[in-house]
Symmetry: C2
Subunit: 897 residues, 2 copies
C-alpha cells in the first residue's frame, strides 16, 4: 500500500469536497472530477441531500502513474481534512468505536466505464468499529455481515486475494451448520466467518488484515487508481477510443444505510414511466432494507406512489402513504432534477432514520415507445426543442416498433441462441425444405424455415416462411440479408442447433424437434424457442409519427429503399421511402416461372442460344419492372443489372441436375459438366457483376430493354413516370462501364425509336471495389451516378467474406481488435476513407454527380452519419429500416450543423 | 472520295519530300511525320538510296477530322508538286501509259501501330498504265496480277467492298480452268479476272472503278487518314494508351520492283546475326523476285554473304558472288546504319535493274542470347555505354535462358495449348496422382503431373514431377504460382484437355493418352506435345554474366527470393539473391512427416490439444528454418506466419477422411463434421492470415519459437547469423498486429533468456489489403517492415479471385477492358496508388521503414519499375526470376535518374 510520503510543501488542490448543500465542484468539471464526482457535486449545488464525501481528482491519477504507482505525498493532509469534514456533516467519526464513519471508495472517470474499475464499500470497519456499527444499527448480524463483506472486497481489490478462497470458508461454515442459504447465518455465525477470513488473510499475506482505518483508506485509494490500468479497463478504453491519459478520479463518500429500522428505507425511482413514458413518478422501495435487497427480489418491493400501488393491486402500502415527508421531499427533488437535466432521470435514494439521501441521478433508460412519448411530451412542455426531441431517439430502437414482438409477459423455453439477424418475432411449424415452406403457405399454415444456410435457390421458401433459422452464417449471410430485406424475422448462425435433413429433425438444447413441431424465433434477441409464444403487433401512430414528421423537416439526405418485389416496394413507400435505391434483378430470376429459361440461357452453348432463352425472360422482367414503376410512380428507381455468378442459378444435387437435364432434353452429364465448368473457388471474387455484362452483353441488353419498355408503359398507366437509373455492378475500371453503357444507350435509342417516346434515364454504377474508389474520377466521366455498395466494399477492403466471418469476427470484437462489426457499421478509417476518395474524385470530374449508398449500412444510424459527412444525396435501406433511416438522417443533419 | 476543294489562299507546309539523297524532314520530326516518315527522311539525309516519296503530315489528319472527314483544299497543289518531283527522280510519270509511276500509300503514326491502319500498294495502275508496266517489266502476267491486286486492295480500303467478293471471282476462274494454284494463271487469265473485278465494282458502286490516277490517290489518302478511327486502331490505342488526337501521317512512295529480270532482286538483311548475335552481315535474297516471295517460301532464298552460303552448304550463289556491286553498296549501308542508329538493324532492300534501293531500316528483333552478345559486344566496341547495354536487354527474355528449352529443330505434335504458366520444357510419363508422381520419382522415372487443378495437398507430387499440366486455373493459379516458385515448367488452364481420373486417361486434340504415356510440355509457349521432344540445357556464363555484373553496379533495390526449401534457397543464392523475402511456412506443414501432427492440431478440441500437437511440429519447423538460415547466412530472411485457412490441410475425400480418422483413433464422423465446420464459401477472404494468429495464438507462438531457436543455432554453426524478419500476413488493422507482435516479442524474450544469447530480429507485416494500405500510418507504429503482398492486394482491390479469373480475364484483355493481366503486371492506377499511399503513410510515421514486395509481381520487370518509383528497398521473387529482377531493378534505377 502506498502511504503518502511526508512533505510540507504547498500542494495543488487535489481533493474536492461535496455534501451539506454545497460542493467545491460543478457538473462542468468532468475532466477533473470524473462523471460521478461532477454529478455528485452538481446535486449538492442544487441543494439536494447527498451523503457527503470528496473527490480525489484525475490529476492525482496522473501523478500516481508518473510517480511509479505511488500517491503524492501532499495528498495526506487534504484527505484527512476532508474526512474530518465529512464526519462532522454526518455526525460520525472515521475509526470511532462508538459512532464510526464508514465510506465507499469508487472510481469515476470522464467517460462512463461501468464495472471496469474497482470499488470498496463499508471501508472503516475493523474489530472495534464493527461493534459500534452493531450498536448503532441494533443489528449485530448486519454489522458482521457488512464486516465480512468488507474484508472480502478489500482483500480482493487491494490485497489481490481471490474471491473463491473466501467463498470456500463461507460454504464450509454453511455445511458445518447444515444451512442452505446465507440468510440462515446468525450474528455469531458471521463472527466466526470473519475470524476465518482474517486467518486466511494473515496466512496468505504474512501479516494481519489491516485494522488501521487510515491504512485501509490509503490502500483502497491506491488500488482504485491502479485499476485504471487493469486489463478489463484497458480493453474497454481501446474499444471505446478513450485515451489512456485521461485517468480516473476517486470518490470517497459516507455510507448511508436504509436498513436501520422502520424509519429507514431504500429505493429507485424514475421521473417518468420508463416503459410507457407516462409523466408520473414511478418506482419502488423497501423499508428497512439495503439497495441490493431491492434488486435481489427476496422481498417484494412496494410502490412509491399511491396511484401505482392501485394499478399494481398491491396490499403493501406505498411510500406516499407510509413516509409522507420523505415522499414529498423526493417528489420535489425529482421535479428539480428533471428540470435541471432536461431529461427523464433514474434516481437512487436511501432513507436513513427518516432522512432522505440521494445516492445517484442519471438519465434513465427507457423503452423505444417511452422514449418517443417522453421526447414528444417534453417538446410540447417546452422543456426541450423539437430538434432536441428528434436527437433524443435512438434510431435503432425504432426497430422494436416496426415488427411484431414477443409478449414480454409470456414464458419462453429458449433452446438455442443465434445471431439477431432480422428483427421481429415469428412462430410456426418447422420445415427444412423451401418447397415444403411454399406448400404450407399455400395451405395457409405458418412455418419457420430451418436451414444450415440459405442460398438464392431457397428464395421462394424464404418468402413463404414466417421466419428463418439458420445454423451457419453471420449478420450479413445470405439468410440475414434477404430476411432483413423482406422484413422477415431471422435468427442466423445458431451453431448449437444440429439439423439432420435426411431424418427431418433438428436437435437443440437437448431436445429433438421434428418437421411440423412448432417453434418461435425472436429475431431481435436471436432466441430459438420451443412451442408458441404470443406476439404483439406493431403500432406506428401517435408519437412515432410526430417524431418522424419533425425529423423530416431537418433531414437533408433522401431515403430510398432496397426492394424488388411489389410487396416490399409498397411497404417501403408506406414507410416513407422516396424511391428505390437498389432493385436486385437476380431475385426475379429465381421466380418459378422463369428459372427454367434462366437455366436454358446459362446452359446454351452460344450467343444465339442465350438470346433465344433471354427472349422468353424479357416479357416477365418487363412486367416485374412495370409493377415496381407503378408503385413508385414519380420517384426514382435504381435497377442493378444481374450481379451473382451464373452458377448460383443452377442446381447442385444429383437429382436436381437429372430433373433439369430431362426438362431441357439434354444429357445429364452435359449439364453436370457445365455446372462443373462454372464452379468457382471464391464466387464473391468471381465471374459476376459487370463481368457478366462484358462476356454476355446480351443479358444486359435484355435487362435494359425490359427496364426501358416498362418505364414507358408504366408512365402511361400512372401519368407520373419514374426515372429509371440503370446501375452496373462491380465496376473496377472506366473501360468496363464504357463498353456496357454503350450497349445500354443503344438499347435505349432503339426502344425510344420503337415507342416513339422520349424517356429520361441515367446510367451509373455501384462503387463497391477499392479499385473503383481510386479510379472514381475516371469512372465518373461515364457514370451519371454512384451508389456505394458498402457490403462488397467492406469485404474487399478488409479481405473478409461476410459469409465466412462468423468464425472469427465475434472473437475480433471480443478481443478488442475491432470496435464494431464492419458489416453492420461502416469502418470509417478504411472503408469510409475509400468512400470519401470516391466521392471527391467523382464530383471533381462530374460536378453534381448523384451519390447514394445501397449497402446494408444504408439502414445503420452510425453509417448514415458518415454518409451525411461525405455529402451523399441519399441512403437506401430495406423497407423496414426506412423510418430508422429517416430519423438517423435527420440527426446526422442536425449534428453536422 | 474527298477531292480537295479549290482555294488559292496560302497554305501551311503539309507535304514533306524525301528521296534523291535529301529530305525535308529528319528523324526528330516524328510527331509531324510519324515514325515511318521520319525514318525514311533520316535514311535520305544519310545519303542512302531510298525510293523517293513524300509524307503528308499529321496536321493534315487533324484538319481532315476537324473538317468532317474532308482533306484540306490547299493540299492539292502541294501533292501535285511532290508527285512531279518523285516522277522526275525515278524517271517515270504518274499516269503515264508508257512509263507509269506507281506509288504505295501507307499510314505512319508517331507510335508504332503495326497492321492497325490501311495501306494501298501499286496505286497508279489503270487499264492503260498496266500496259506500260507490262512493257517495262517485260512481264504481262506480273503487270495484270499487280493490277488485280491493286483493284482488290483499293476496293476494300477505299470503296468498302469485302475481300471475299473478289476471292470468289478468282476461285471461279481457277475452277473454270481446272487450276489449283494462283501461279497457274496466265497473263490472259489475269486479264479476265481484272475484267471480273471491275464489273463487280461497277455493279456494287453504280460507277466504274476509277481510272483517273489522281482520283485514286485522293481516295487512298482519305481512306488511310480515315483508318485512324477504325475499330481496330481505336482499340489498339486504348490498349497502348496512345492519344486519339495524335493522328497519323500518310507516306506516298514510289514503288520499286525486284522482279524486273536477272539484274533485279529483293532481300532482307540483319547487321548482326539475330540468332547468335555474331557480328556479321546476315540475310537472304532472291533474284527477280518481290518481297513477298522471300517470305512465301516457294523459292528457297539465297545467302547474302559467301561465308553464310558455306555454313548453309548451299549450292545457290550468294549475293556477294552474283551482285558484287550491290552487295558492296549494301555492306557500306549496313555499317552506316548500325553506326547511326547504334543498334543492330533489320533492313529491307530491293535491287531494281542493278540499282539498290533501301525500303526500310529498323531495330532488329533478336533472341535473348543474341541480345546479350550484341549488347556486350557493342559496349566493348564503344558504340554504346555499359549502362546502355544494360538497358538494351529485355529482362523477361532472360527467362528463356534460365530453363531448359525445346530443341527448335525438333518436330512437335502439339495436342493442346494452355497458358504459359511457368517457363521451361519438360518431358515425362503422364501421372494423374501426386502419390504416383512421388513413387515414380523414387523409381528414377521422370513424370508430368496432370491435374484438373492442384491444391496444397499435391505439393509432394508437384515437387516430384518434371512438369505440371492443369486443365483449369490462370497464370496465378495454385499450380502456376507453385511451379514458378519451384522453377518447374507448367502449362495451366489447358481447357481443351479432358481428364478422366477414374479411367486414368486424358483426351486432347482427338487423342486419348493413358497414364504412363510420354508427353512434353513447353511452359514458355503453353504447348502440350505428344511424345518426347529433345531439350537444350541453359548456359548462364559469358555475356549473361557480364550484363548482370554491369547491372548490379547501377542497381539500387535489393533482390531477394521467395523460397522455403533448401533446394530453392540454394538455387536462388547461386542466382544472386540477397536474402529471402518470403518463406511460406505452410508449405512446410504439408511435408509427410508432419501433416499428421498438423491435422491433429486442427482437429483438437481445445488449446491444450493444439499445443500438444504443435509441440510435435516445433522441432521439425526449427530444423526447416535452421537449414534456410545456414544457406542464407549473413543475409536477411523473412518468414511469414501460417497463412492459409486450416481446411486446406485437411483431406476432402471420404476415403482419406476415414484413413485420417483411423490414424487419429477418432470417429470418421467427427473428422467429417470438423471439416464441414471449417468449410468456407470464399476461402480467400476467410479465416486465414493473421486471423489464425488471433484465434489460435499458440500457432504463432510455436512458429516464433522455431524461428528464434533456429536463428540462434544457425548463427553458431555458420558464424554469420541471419536477421530473421517475422512477417504477419493479411493484417487489416494495427490492433491485429499489436496483439500478435506482443506474443512474438514475449516468445523472443523467453528464447533469448533460455539460450542466454541476444538475437536481432524484426517483426513486420504483409501489406496486402486495401484497408491496410489506408491504415499504414497506424500499422507502421507497430510494424518494423512492410512487404507488399501484391497478389492478394490485386485480388482485393479488383475483387477478382486469381483462381477464378481465367474465365473472363482473357476476354477482358481481348476486348481492351484491361491493358494487361493485373496479376502479372501491377495495375499502376489502382494497386499502384494503394502501394504509394501505404509507403508514404508508413514512412511518415516510421522514417526509414523497410519496404519490400513479395508478391509474384516482384519478378515482373514492369512492376519492378513501379517499385523503384515508390522507393521500395527490395523486391523478392521466385529463384528462377532473380537474375531477371536484378536486371530489371538496374534498368529501373537507370530510367529514374
Amino acid at each position: 500500500m502506498n502511504q503518502p510520503e511526508q512533505n510540507t510543501s504547498h500542494a495543488p488542490k487535489w481533493v474536492y469536497m461535496f455534501g451539506d448543500g454545497i460542493a467545491d465542484g460543478t457538473a462542468e468539471m468532468r475532466d477533473l472530477l470524473g462523471g460521478k464526482g461532477a454529478n455528485l457535486a452538481e446535486m449538492c449545488n442544487l441543494g439536494l441531500p447527498v451523503p457527503p464525501g470528496f473527490t480525489v481528482t484525475t490529476e492525482v491519477c496522473a501523478a500516481y502513474y508518473d510517480n511509479d504507482r505511488a500517491l503524492p505525498e501532499a495528498l495526506g493532509a487534504q484527505v484527512d481534512a476532508a474526512l474530518a469534514h465529512v464526519g462532522k456533516v454526518v455526525g460520525a467519526e472515521f475509526g470511532s468505536r462508538d459512532n464510526p464513519l464508514l465510506v465507499s471508495v469508487r472510481s469515476g472517470s470522464r467517460a462512463s466505464m461501468p464495472g471496469m474499475m474497482d470499488t470498496v464499500l463499508n471501508l472503516g470497519l475493523n474489530d472495534e468499529t464493527v461493534e459500534g456499527l452493531a450498536k448503532r444499527s441494533l443489528d449485530a448480524r448486519f454489522a458482521y455481515d457488512s464486516y465480512r463483506r468488507f474484508i472480502q472486497m478489500y482483500s480482493n481489490v487491494v490485497l489481490g486475494l481471490e474471491h473463491h478462497r473466501f467463498e470456500d470458508i463461507l460454504e464450509a461454515a454453511k455445511d458445518d451448520n447444515g444451512y442452505a442459504l446465507d440468510t440462515e447465518l446468525s450474528a455469531q455465525d458471521w463472527r466466526e466467518v470473519v475470524a476465518g477470513y482474517k486467518a486466511l488473510v494473515e496466512e496468505e499475506r504474512g501479516e494481519p488484515f489491516p485494522q488501521d482505518v487510515h491504512a485501509q483508506l490509503w490502500g483502497a485509494l491506491g488500488a482504485v487508481f491502479g485499476s485504471w490500468q487493469n486489463q478489463r479497463a484497458i480493453t474497454y478504453r481501446r474499444l471505446h477510443s478513450i485515451p489512456d491519459d485521461w485517468g480516473t478520479a476517486v470518490n470517497v463518500q459516507a455510507m448511508v444505510f436504509g436498513n436501520m429500522g422502520e424509519t429507514s428505507a431504500t429505493g429507485v425511482a424514475f421521473t417518468r414511466n420508463p416503459s410507457t413514458g407516462e409523466k408520473a413518478l414511478f418506482g419502488e422501495f423497501l423499508i428497512n432494507a439495503q439497495g441490493e435487497d431491492v434488486v435481489a427480489g427476496i422481498r417484494t418491493p412496494q410502490a412509491i406512489t399511491e396511484a401505482e400501488r392501485r394499478i399494481n393491486g398491491s396490499s403493501e402500502p406505498s411510500m406516499e402513504a407510509v413516509m409522507p415527508e420523505s415522499f414529498a421531499h423526493l417528489k420535489a427533488i425529482y421535479e428539480k432534477l428533471e428540470g435541471h437535466y432536461r431529461d427523464m432521470q433514474d434516481l437512487e435514494f436511501t432513507v436513513q432514520e427518516g432522512k432522505l439521501w440521494m445516492l445517484q441521478t442519471r438519465t434513465g433508460k427507457r423503452t423505444a415507445r417511452a422514449a418517443l412519448k417522453i421526447a414528444v411530451d417534453m417538446a410540447r412542455e417546452k422543456l426541450i426543442s423539437r430538434q432536441e426531441a428528434v436527437l433524443r431517439i435512438d434510431p435503432s430502437s425504432l426497430d422494436q416498433l416496426l415488427h411484431p414482438t414477443l409478449d414480454p409477459r409470456a414464458e419462453r423455453d429458449i433452446v438455442a441462441t443465434g445471431l439477431p439477424a432480422s428483427p421481429g418475432a415469428a412462430c410456426g411449424a418447422i420445415v427444412f425444405d423451401p418447397d415444403d415452406a411454399e406448400q404450407a403457405r399455400n395451405a395457409g399454415k405458418p412455418v419457420i424455415l430451418v436451414r444450415v444456410e440459405t442460398s438464392p435457390e431457397d428464395i421462394h421458401g424464404m418468402h413463404a416462411a414466417e421466419g428463418i433459422l439458420t445454423t451457419r452464417g453471420g449478420m450479413t449471410s445470405h439468410a440475414a440479408v434477404v430476411a432483413r430485406g423482406m422484413g422477415t424475422p431471422c435468427v442466423s448462425g445458431a451453431g448449437a442447433v444440429r439439423i439432420d435433413y435426411a431424418a427431418g429433425t433438428m436437435t437443440a438444447g437437448g431436445h429433438t424437434l421434428n418437421k411440423g413441431d412448432i417453434i418461435t424465433i425472436d429475431g431481435a434477441a436471436g432466441h430459438v424457442i420451443r412451442g408458441e409464444v404470443p406476439t404483439i403487433q406493431p403500432d406506428l401512430t401517435g408519437d412515432f409519427g410526430v417524431i418522424i414528421e419533425w425529423a423530416d423537416k431537418v433531414r437533408r439526405m433522401e431515403v430510398r429503399t432496397n426492394a424488388e418485389t411489389p410487396g416490399d416496394a409498397r411497404v417501403a413507400r408506406e414507410f416513407g421511402a422516396e424511391g428505390i435505391g437498389l432493385c436486385r434483378t437476380e431475385h426475379m430470376f429465381f421466380e418459378a416461372d422463369r428459372i427454367q429459361a434462366v437455366r436454358e440461357m446459362i446452359l446454351a452453348g452460344d450467343e444465339a442460344g442465350r438470346r433465344a432463352a433471354l427472349a422468353k425472360i424479357l416479357p416477365m422482367q418487363r412486367n416485374d419492372f412495370k409493377s415496381l414503376f407503378e408503385i413508385m410512380s414519380g420517384l426514382p428507381v435504381t435497377i442493378r443489372l444481374l450481379d451473382p455468378p451464373l452458377h448460383e442459378f443452377l442446381p447442385s444435387g444429383e437429382k436436381e441436375i437429372a430433373q433439369l437435364a430431362e426438362a431441357m432434353g439434354v444429357d445429364p452429364e452435359i449439364v453436370a459438366r457445365r455446372i462443373g465448368d462454372l464452379h468457382e473457388f471464391n464466387p464473391m471474387l468471381g465471374h459476376r457483376g459487370c463481368r457478366l455484362a462484358i462476356t454476355y452483353p446480351e443479358i444486359a441488353e435484355m435487362q435494359a430493354r425490359a427496364i426501358f419498355e416498362a418505364a414507358i408503359e408504366a408512365g402511361k398507366t400512372t401519368g407520373k413516370a419514374v426515372i429509371p437509373e440503370v446501375m452496373v455492378p462491380l465496376v473496377a475500371t472506366r473501360a468496363e462501364l464504357d463498353q456496357i453503357k454503350e450497349r445500354i444507350v443503344a438499347v435505349g435509342e432503339q426502344v425510344q425509336g420503337e415507342a416513339g417516346e422520349r424517356l429520361d434515364y441515367l446510367v451509373g454504377t455501384m462503387i463497391e471495389l477499392p479499385r473503383a474508389c481510386l479510379g472514381a474520377g475516371d469512372i465518373a466521366k461515364v457514370a451519371e451516378f454512384f451508389s456505394f455498395g458498402t457490403n462488397d466494399l467492406t469485404q474487399t477492403a478488409f479481405g473478409i467474406s461476410r459469409d465466412d466471418s462468423a468464425g472469427f469476427l465475434a472473437e475480433y470484437i471480443r478481443k478488442g481488435v475491432l470496435e464494431a462489426d464492419p458489416f453492420i457499421t461502416i469502418d470509417r478509417a478504411g472503408v469510409g476513407e475509400l468512400m470519401k476518395i470516391a466521392a471527391e474524385r467523382g464530383r471533381e470530374s462530374r460536378p453534381g454527380l448523384k451519390l447514394g449508398i445501397c449497402g446494408e449500412h444504408g439502414g445503420d444510424p452510425a453509417s448514415i452519419g458518415l454518409c451525411e459527412t461525405i455529402g451523399l444525396d441519399y441512403v437506401s435501406c430495406s423497407p423496414f429500416r426506412v423510418p430508422i433511416a429517416r430519423l438517423a438522417a435527420a440527426q446526422a443533419a442536425l449534428r453536422k450543423n
